[in-house]
Structure formats: C-alpha cells, structure tokens
C-alpha cells in the first residue's frame, strides 16, 4: 500500500494542480465582472469555486498523506488535520464575512499557502509548524483588514510617514542587523528575528501611491526618486540586492503608471541597466554572482554549488517529479527559503512547477485587474504596485533558481519559509481584497442610487402622464 501511495500520489497531485490552475484562469474573468448577466456568471463561478476548493484539499491531502506514508509518524497526520481545519475555516469565514470579496483571489492565496506548507512539511517539520502558526495568525488578522481599511480614510495623506518609517526601519537593519549569507537582512526583537525589508515593501508602495495620487509631474517624481534612492541605497549597502531590485522596479513601474509617460519606463529601465553595470564594476560580490550564473560549473565547489544543486534537483525530477520525500532537495543550501521552487519542481514535477508559475500569474492578473477597474487613484496605484512587486519578486526567485537570471536570494511569496515574508504577503493580499471590496461596494451604491433616481424619474413621468 505504502509503495503504491509513494509512487502514485504524484500523479494525483499533478492532475489536481493542473485542473486547479485551469479553473483559476477561467475564474479570473468572473471575479471582476460586475452588474448584469451576473446570474449565469455567479452560478458558474460558484461551481468553479466549489471545484477549486475540492482540488485544493485534494492536492493538500495527497501531499501531506504521502509524507505521512513515507515518515509514518502520527504527528504528520495530526498536522494535516490541523491545516485542513485552518484552511476550511479561512475559506468559510472569509465568504461569510465578505460576500462581496474576491473569493477566487482568496482561494488562490490559500492554494499557494497549502503548497508551501506541504513542501515545508516535507523539508522540515519544525519549520513547517512555525510557518503554519505564523500564517494562521496572519490570516486571522488579514480577515480584519477590509473592515478597517474602509474607516482609514487618512491613509492617502501619510506620504512622509511611510517614507520616514520605511527608511528608518531599513537603516536600523543596516546598523544593527545580523549577517546571514553575507547580507544584513534581519534583526531580533524580543527573541523573534524580523526582516523589515519585507514589511517596508508595503510602506514603500503606499508611499508612492500617496505621493502620486493627486498629480505625477516632475515635481512629484523627483522627490519620489530621492526617497526611493535612499531606500534602494540602504538595501544595496545591506547587500540585499534582490530586495533593492524589487523597490527599484516598484518605483519605475508606479511612476510609469502615474505619469502616463512611456519615456519614464524606458528611462527607468536604462537607469536600472546602468545601476546593474555599475554594481558589477564596483562590487566583487556582484561579479561573483554573475559568474555563478553564467558558468556555475566552473565554480561548482563554491559560488556555483547552490545553483547547480538546484539544477540537479529540477532536472532530476522530470515531468512528474520524483514524488514527495523521494528527491534530494535537502542538498540545496537554504532550500526552504531561497530555493523552494527547485524543491517543488524536483518532487512534484515540471508540470506542477509550470502550473505554479501560471497560478502566480493568475494571482498577479487578479491584483492587476483590481487596479484596472478601480477609479480611485490612490487605491489603483497601490494595487498596481502590489501586483508588480509580487510578480517581480517571483520572477527574481524562480529565475534565479533555474539559472534564467543571476541569483538574488529572495523568497517565493507564500511558499518559501520565512515569517516576515509570509506575513507581508498575506497583509498585501488583505489590502488588495479590501480595495476590491471597497470598489464593489462603491459600485453597488452607485447602482442603487442610479436605480432610485431612475425609479423616481419613472414615477415622475408616470405622474406627469
């Protein structure tokens, strides 16, 4: 029995993920469609939601039960049940509290989290448990965010609070931080290690949105450039190059959207290229990374070790993967945080890995379309900024793991191990949900007003006739 479970579960997981991803894309359209025609759309989306929930639990159960079959320790079984309850509660509560919410997005977040937990359980039980509690706490808080955001009308006026708090937090890491792998990323508070650059990402997007929402001429763009430069330089000084790149991209793309000028996009890209070239010239650690990307085989003992182990993993798994617990992802240093995608690709297979990338794109589109449909500039820019930093971070981490681009060592949001990362991402999604709900409610109130007025007009006409 055990032999069969270990050998066959990977096909169930691949099939489940494949169908889930297809549904997630089909569901995209319905999530943001409003108004009339909603009858069929709603029915269809409800059916799709039902299937997606089923598949989420199927993939999750197949994954964790496979690990249980391999390890044969009861705690794995209990851990699965706890997770099951937590996800069920998250899904049911959210639908109950926010019937107007974007359930597809929320489901996708749960799906990504569950994939992350399955993979972490396989890699390190202790870390998975920790991640589970942090995520559960984050989800509980996240459910409150939409209700709060409606009341916080002052958010768009806090421009310099965001900038100041963000820069200060980053500076504190630079001065006080602990060094991990040559980078200063975190400091300890009350025995808990916090990575502020994750949370400052949110502040930074809020900052840019509030700086630009009234106008985005040169008078706004240049100060924003200065503030961004401060953030980015502090991060570069902490040697957190991946995060620095994310901040930079957020600045360039949000400036592009707010100003409406394509030249800022190209100018920004050119500046990014120049910055990268300068970094390459000036800093040995940048050159080493580029070399490890171009030819990791010549430095396989040192800088190329991580990336080549990652390539071995990905290629060793093949189309359907080795099956959970049957690969060798443990050989990749920092696999739970920086190389989790390689572990997923190895044990769950290339089809699954590509579906995972597609699912991330679906989530990205969901956020992006919130920004497309919302007319309030502050919220539009915020959602757009979140979409861009979310997808760009995924591009950095997966691209680095598969040798598509140089390695930068950022996490895969919701999947990688890391409390700060997972909290930050959940909070970000909560804000996006809040914006979505705000948008729906506004729409609804406009529609109601319009209907009232129309009815009044009709009555008036009737009376007149």
């Amino acid at each position: 029995m055990r032999t069969y479970i270990l050998a066959l579960s990977k096909y169930v997981i691949t099939a489940g993920m494949l169908v889930y991803t297809l549904l997630a894309f089909l569901r995209l359209g319905y999530g943001s469609r409003r108004g009339e025609g909603a009858g069929t759309a709603l029915r269809k989306s409800a059916a799709a939601d039902f299937c997606m929930i089923f598949l989420l639990f199927l993939v999750h159960a197949a994954g964790l039960l496979t690990i249980y079959a391999a390890r044969q320790k009861p705690e794995y079984l209990f851990f699965w049940l706890f997770q099951l309850l937590a996800f069920a509660a998250a899904i049911v509560l959210y639908r109950a509290i926010y019937p107007e919410g974007n359930t597809a997005l929320w489901l996708n977040v749960c799906m990504l989290l569950s994939i992350g937990l399955v993979m972490l359980t396989r890699l390190s039980f202790a870390k998975a448990v920790r991640q589970f509690f942090i995520a559960a706490a984050g989800m509980s808080l996240a459910i409150a965010v939409p209700a709060l955001l409606k009341r916080f009308r002052f958010l768009k006026r806090l421009t310099f609070v965001y900038a100041g708090a963000g820069a200060a937090a980053l500076l504190a890491v630079l001065v006080l931080g602990q060094v991990t792998q040559g980078s200063k990323l975190s400091y300890s508070m009350f025995g808990v290690s916090v990575q502020p650059s994750e949370f400052v990402k949110i502040l930074f997007v809020f900052y840019l949105a509030s700086a630009y929402y009234e106008a985005a001429g040169l008078r706004e763009i240049l100060p924003a450039a200065a503030v961004s430069a401060v953030h980015i330089l502090i991060l570069a000084a902490s040697r957190d190059l991946g995060t620095a790149a994310i901040y930079f991209v957020a600045y360039v793309f949000m400036t592009f959207l707010a100003s409406g000028k394509w030249r800022y996009l190209f100018l920004g890209m050119a500046a990014g290229g120049a910055g990268a070239a300068a970094g390459f010239r000036l800093f040995a650690h940048v050159r080493v990374r580029v070399q490890a990307w171009l030819d990791p085989w010549s430095v396989i003992d040192t800088m190329g070790y991580q990336i080549t182990q990652s390539l071995f993993s990905i290629s060793g798994g093949g189309i359907f993967g080795t099956g959970l617990t049957r690969g060798t992802p443990d050989k990749i240093p920092y696999v739970e945080s920086d190389f989790i995608f390689a572990a997923v690709a190895e044990e769950l297979g290339l089809i699954f890995a590509v579906c995972l990338m597609a699912l991330c794109i679906a989530v990205f589109l969901d956020i992006l379309w919130v920004s497309l449909n919302f007319a309030d500039r502050f919220y539009r820019f915020t959602a757009f900024g979140f979409a861009v930093i979310y997808i760009f971070q995924i591009f950095l981490t997966i691209g680095g793991e598969v040798k598509f681009i140089p390695l930068t060592g950022v996490t895969l949001p919701l999947i990688s191990y890391g409390g700060s990362s997972v909290l930050q991402t959940i909070f970000m999604f909560a804000v996006v949900e809040a914006i979505y709900i705000l948008q729906r409610e506004k729409m609804r109130s406009f529609e109601q007003r319009f209907e009232r007025e129309e009815a009044a007009a009709r009555r008036a006409v009737g009376r007149g006739g």
Binding site: F312, I314, S315, G316, I361, A375, F392, F395, V402
Partner: protein, 487 residues
Amino acid sequence: MKARDWKPYAEDRQAEKKRIRGQILFVQWLFISLFAAMAAFICIYAVRNRKTFFDNSYNGREAKLLAENTRGKIFAADGQVLAETVTEADGSERRRYPFGSLFSHVVGYSTKGRSGIEKEENYALVHSDLPLSEKAAADERGSKYPGNNVFTTLRPEIQQAASDALGMYRGAVIATDPATGAILAMVSKPDFDPNEIDVRWNSYLAGDSAEGRLLNRATQGMYPPGSTFKLIDAIEYLEEHPDTWQDYRYQCTGTLEKAGGAVHCFHYEVHGSVDLVDSFAESCNCSFANLGLELDRSAYENTLEKLMFDGKLPFSYPYTESHVYLDAETPEKEVMQMAIGQGETSMSPFHLHLITQAAADGGILMRPRLVESIRTADGSVLRQDMPEPYARLMSEKTAAELRRMMQAVVERGTATKLSGFSYTAAGKTGSAEYDPEDESRSHAWFTGFAPAENPQICVTVIIEGMGSGGDYAVPIARRVFDSYFAK
C-alpha cells in the same frame, strides 16, 4: 438606459482610463511573456541536460537511488553476466565482473569514476523501472529494487579469442557485424581487472606513459594508419574514375623520388609493373604515392570529410578524432606521405574499422552499437536499439570494387596467411612507421572481413611496435575469424 451603461466616473476621466488600460495591459503582457520564456527555458534546460546532470559527481541523486535500487546487471549477447552487483554477508555491495579483465575497457568500471558501458548506461543501471506490484513485493521482503539490466551485443567467445590472440602485445582488436553495426568484441591491451579497480587504482594509473592501461586503445588510440590508408586512397580513386580505374598502371622501382620527397616500398621491394589491384594487394608505396599526386585535391578533401576525418564518429563512447592534413596548399611531398598513411596523418583503430565496415556493407555505415536492449529486472523492454544506417560513406560500386581488391590482398598479396580456410577473408594490412629515428619499427595493422562474398564479421587489429601487419596482425585476425566461424 440600463444599469451597466451608467458611468459613475464619466467626467473627463475617460481619456485617463483609456491610457491606464493600455499601460496595465502592457505590464500584464510583459510579465506573462517573461514567465512564458522562463517556463520554456526551465523545461527545455532541465529535460535536455537530464543525463549530463545525473552523471555529475556533485549530484546526490544517484546515491539516493542506490539506497533503494541495486545497480543493474550487464549481459553479453549469449546471456552470460558481464557485470553484476553482489551483496556480501555484511550487507555491503560489491560490483563483480565474472570475466575479470577480459571486458575491462568496453564494459568499464563503476567505482573510482566510471567508464565504458558502466558509464554510458549508468542512468539506466541505477534506475529501477519494475512494475509497482514487484516493487511492493520487494518492500514486503525488505529488499532493494533490482535496477534495470543492460543487454549488450558483445560475444564472450570472440572477445576471448581476440584477447588471447593479442596476448601480451599492446594493441587493440575490434570485431563488428557489418550488417547491423553490432560490436561483437572490443579488446584493448594492456588491460586491467575492474574487480580490483579500488585496490589497484594507483598501480593502474602508474606505469610508463606509453602504457596507458586505462585507455581504450580501440577508440582512443591514435596511430599512423600506414598502408591501411591505401583503402582511403583507393576509395577516392574509384570514385573519381568509376569506369577507367582498370587502366591505372605504374612501374615500381622500389623508390619514388619526386618534389623533394622520397617514398620507398616496404623493405625496398621492387614491384615492377602494377595496376591498381596489384598495387593494393602488394601494398606498393611508390604506386600509391604516385596515385595520391594524381587525385583531385578538393574532391579528396570532400571524401575525407565524408569518411569522418577531423570530425565526429557515430559513437557516444569516448573516442579520439582522427586527423589528416590536406588542402590545396599542401606540398606534394607531404601528399605522397599522406597517401601511404605516414607523416601527419593519425587514426583510431575504431575509425578505420568503421570504413572497412561500410565497405563490407555496400558502402553504408551501420551505426556501431554496444547495447541491444535495456530491460527491467523482470524482463520487459525499456529500450531496444535497432540496427540503424548512419550514412553512406562510398557508392555501392566503389564498395564492391574495394571488396574485390581486399580479397586480392588475401589471395595473392600481403595477407596470404588468411587464405586456405573454410571461409574466404578479405582485408588490408599495414605496417605503420612511427619512429622517425628507426624506420624498422612499425605498428602492425590489419582491417578486413569474412566471408569475402557475404561479409558477416569485420575485424580490425593493431599491435604496437611489432613489425609488419602481414606477419603479426593477420594471424590475430585469423583467430578472431576462426572463433566466429567455429560455431
């Protein structure tokens, strides 16, 4: 007017809305295409490099697999085991090679790195594709899964004959079936015992630099081809003069001096008036040096390329590329040397063998192969290597003429030691001088096939530094032919 047509933000924001829509769609497609490119990259990169990555010594995958699978067996064509893993009483595993050093180079070893079939088919050997029911049964028993087995084309009796015939000489013997490309035997001496590779590794590496015990001389050895190169001259001449080659005449005086260079026949023998077949059968150097100068150089260059000089052979095992130097600028005295297989020209025995093999099979080279099939431990076929034509190396007519000329070598030329047996053999000998200081020292070559009318086996022999091909290499080939036809 319906509800959905009502535009809540209808002021002057229409233009901005349109612009933002364009920008957002741009960003959307930008990242979608980036991700599509990345996904395509990873899939292609991972799948294409699968075996290379697997064989990298830094990859821990093999160790993980060997913890659950026992390395598969390697079998000879007749079903005898060439390599297997045995579990000792204490549970440790050992790779056993029942034939000792007989198949050392071709089957190879799997500890201290890997070589031969052990290396090339490593991926298959360490994987186990048993059906799940069998695996479940193995789990019940608490035993490991047996890995996939490799069935080779090698024939132990021919390999043994070749090895015995070569004796203590340094050199190599190759035997293949020209119709299928199946490699029947491949011997290289000095050899080593793969059973003792771990304990005797250092002594195998030691020895004088000429010893090269771990080197497979059959494919990696580089030798001047000597008179066997006349095969290649003859091919070119036959292709250039398909209808008039019979008119070729040359008056041999034992020495040809021309263009500042001089060529002698072996032991300064004088062959007198010879045609092409005589020149070939008696291996007349002067005649071939003369013929070499007559050949159309650009046509010859093309032929050399077609015959895989300075290029790849259709073989995935390690081999050394042969070299020949010829272009419009080559001085005539060097062309004379090239035509008799001396000078800068160097060939591997395997390369020469493939040319003979193509001649034996009507000009078509069948892709040489060592593996017949790969099967799971319970016998279901995972991969079957079918005979596969690789390329036409010469026209059918050229191949037929060449076969007749090679038959003349045995009937009345330098390989008469092969005549008078139950089978009719054909071939070409060579005595390749390799020491400019001492012209009496030469490598002994023979390449040929039997039966001459309907070739079933091709054999190529080289012995290092022993003397003439006719005296030393031909008897070895004979014993290989004998073992094949003894059945």
